[in-house]
């Protein structure tokens, strides 16, 4: 079974993000970039499937600038077999939107013919959580989002899905798409021998325009601003005072 994993190059989660001076977006210059944490979890799950012999090949895909090659190389160092880099000059945190990403990935799925597509549930820059569901829609495949565990049973996938009230277990037929949530696994560190091996693994580079899909943004970002600083809270003496404040000051109860 071939598994396709999407990885996105985003601002590192530990970085204190700042808004650019012209409010057009977030400051990306000289900022540390790394693989989206949910994508790491997806790669880890794919590698585990390979280790338990449920998958035969893991292909990592990334859409972004040339430097996204580093992200792909990290996926290879974790254990993916080969990578596909789709280069674009568009800003992948704003201009290249989930629908366009899903369209490109759909074309790649047609070429690579995987039985399972693993994506992170969302990226930490856009936080849209749309690419997975949109891709499944375009492919007309069953999808399970927010996966907490993935099991393979012949040509079916049994996936535990996180919901607000707990988890539910879904069984879907292959080929399917799964988006990965935090509790699915703990991504491994790339071992030094694997880092060396990753150098020799193949990365195919193609341009986003070559896929013949419409990449125009469907929405335009007008302004990016920092959230207003949080005001200090007030301590209240008792419940009566709390109710009074909620009624008369915050005006949230009648």
């Amino acid at each position: 079974m071939r598994v396709l994993v999407g990885v996105k190059r985003v601002i590192d989660y530990a970085v204190k993000v700042r808004v650019a001076a012209n409010k057009s977006g977030v400051e990306l210059q000289n900022v540390k970039m790394s693989m989206n944490p949910f994508c790491e979890i997806a790669v880890e799950e794919a590698i585990r499937l390979k280790e338990t012999k449920k998958a035969t090949e893991v292909v990592a895909v990334s859409i972004g600038p040339k430097q996204a090659q580093d992200t792909l190389r990290t996926a290879l160092a974790m254990g993916a077999d080969r990578g596909i880099l789709v280069t674009t000059d568009m800003r992948i945190d704003q201009e290249l939107q989930p629908l366009s990403v899903a369209k490109i990935l759909a074309k790649i799925v047609e070429e690579e013919d995987p039985s399972l597509v693993l994506l992170g549930k969302q990226s930490i820059d856009g936080d849209c959580a749309q690419t997975g569901p949109m891709l499944a829609g375009l492919l007309n495949w069953p999808q399970v989002t927010f996966a907490a565990s993935v099991d393979v049973d012949g040509d079916k996938f049994r996936v535990e899905r996180e919901t607000d009230s707990g988890t539910e277990i879904l069984e879907v037929a292959s080929p399917a798409l799964v988006t990965c949530d935090l509790r699915l696994n703990e991504p491994r560190y790339a071992t030094l021998p694997n880092i060396m091996k990753a150098k020799k693994k193949k990365i195919d580079t193609r341009a986003a325009e070559d896929f013949g899909v419409d990449l125009t943004p469907r929405y335009e970002i007008l302004e990016v601003v920092e959230p207003a600083p949080r005001e200090a809270g007030i301590l209240v003496e008792d419940v009566d005072q709390l109710v009074d404040k909620l009624k008369n000051e915050a005006k949230v109860i009648g």
Binding site: S34, D70, R73, T74, A77, Y189, A190, T191, L192, P193, I195, M196, A198, K199
Partner: protein, 368 residues
């Protein structure tokens, strides 16, 4: 590994059986130097962004490991003198205990620059872990990789580079630290070819956790420093015991103790390299070891700089953070300069070593 490399290894293996070790070593080193020089370009990296992909990946990975696994426990390890067994085992799985050892022998097959970067980042998280890793890599795996026979490597290199076992290096003695040529530990040859060691080694890092030690002993006192030989002594050899752990002021999670040899007999094939090569092995090993400790010091310095900067930005005096005061700014910028200079010296020594050229002076400068 390329076909040429493979052919070379095979040829070396065959020749090793026929030609005495010393001649073999000289020829091997000359040939390898030729290969490296012809294939390589002189490397001159001065900053992290210039590093090739795999070095950057090592840097990122080690940084992540240090931040996630070491920083949270470093204080506890130091206070309680705890040997970080879990962490060492994880590092072993990552290939970090034999960074520049061939993959055939359990190592990661990377160059010394990658090793220097790895030690720096790990030491930034926990200095004790850094020294444990550095001693195993440079002082134990280093000489064994360079001078051991294939059989010795199988038993004494592969598990150690893979992190399954730990090694240590016994050169210093209670009576001689800098004057390595005056080794008073003796090794007398017995009729059956085996050697009996008698003596004491002091201040040995990893002593209590090591599974084997590279020990230097005088085999022929009349030849002075040319009469010292190196031996690989497994921990469980009868007559080999340990002294008490030293109570140190720092790097307390790593054990430092004496190695005691009382009529400790080791088989004939325990000798590392040829008889009388000990001093040379020790000096060559220490050259590489200096890069390891220089990197460790660099990691500690970097961590100290980051800590000081953070504190200066937070601590207020006279209504402003003290980082706005010139005296503090001067101190911090001097620190930053020194750390940067140290890093350049260390990288330079590592890169020269990787080119197989003489790097003794550069390594000594880096350690300083």
């Amino acid at each position: 590994k390329s076909t040429f490399s493979r052919l070379f290894s095979w040829a070396r293996f065959v020749l090793q059986a026929l030609i005495p070790t010393r001649t073999m070593l000289v020829c091997h080193r000359r040939l390898r130097g030729l290969l490296r020089r012809s294939a390589s370009v002189v490397r001159n990296y001065t900053s992290h962004s210039q590093l090739p992909e795999e070095h950057r990946m090592v840097y990122e990975m080690c940084r992540q490991f240090a931040d996630d696994e070491l920083v949270p426990i470093a204080g506890k390890l130091d206070k309680e003198h705890l040997y970080p067994a879990d962490v060492i085992s994880k590092l072993g799985e990552l290939g970090m205990m034999g960074v520049s050892v061939d993959t055939d022998h359990g190592g990661a097959g990377m160059d010394y620059l990658a090793y220097a970067i790895a030690i720096e980042e790990i030491s930034r998280g926990c200095a004790s872990t850094g020294i444990i890793m550095s001693v195993n890599n440079s002082l134990y795996c280093g000489p064994v990789d360079k001078f051991a026979t294939p059989e010795q490597k199988e038993a004494f290199l592969t598990p150690y580079a893979a992190g399954e076992k730990l090694g240590c290096f016994g050169l210093s003695e209670p009576g001689n630290g800098s004057d390595a040529g005056a080794a008073s530990t003796t090794a007398t040859e017995n009729d059956d070819g085996s050697w009996t060691l008698n003596g004491r080694k002091a201040w040995i890092t990893n002593a209590h956790e090591a599974d084997a030690a590279v020990v230097f002993a005088t085999t022929d006192k009349s030849l002075k420093h040319k009469g010292i030989s190196a031996f690989i002594v497994p921990r469980d050899t009868p007559g080999f015991s340990l002294g008490n752990k030293e109570d140190k002021l720092g790097i307390r999670a790593s054990s430092t103790a004496d190695l005691v040899f009382e009529n400790c007999t080791v088989p004939a094939d325990s000798i590392l390299g040829d008889k009388g090569m000990g001093f040379k092995i020790a000096m060559m090993t220490l050259d590489a070891g200096r890069i390891g400790v220089a990197s460790q010091a660099l990691g500690i310095a970097q961590a100290a700089l980051e800590c000081a900067t953070k504190y200066a930005q937070g601590r207020e005096a006279f209504g402003k953070p003290i980082s706005s005061l010139y005296a503090i700014q001067l101190k911090l910028s001097e620190m930053a300069c020194k750390v940067d200079a140290a890093r350049l010296l260390t990288w330079r020594a590592a890169m020269i070593k990787d080119e197989n050229k003489n790097y003794t002076k550069e390594a000594a400068m880096a350690k300083l």
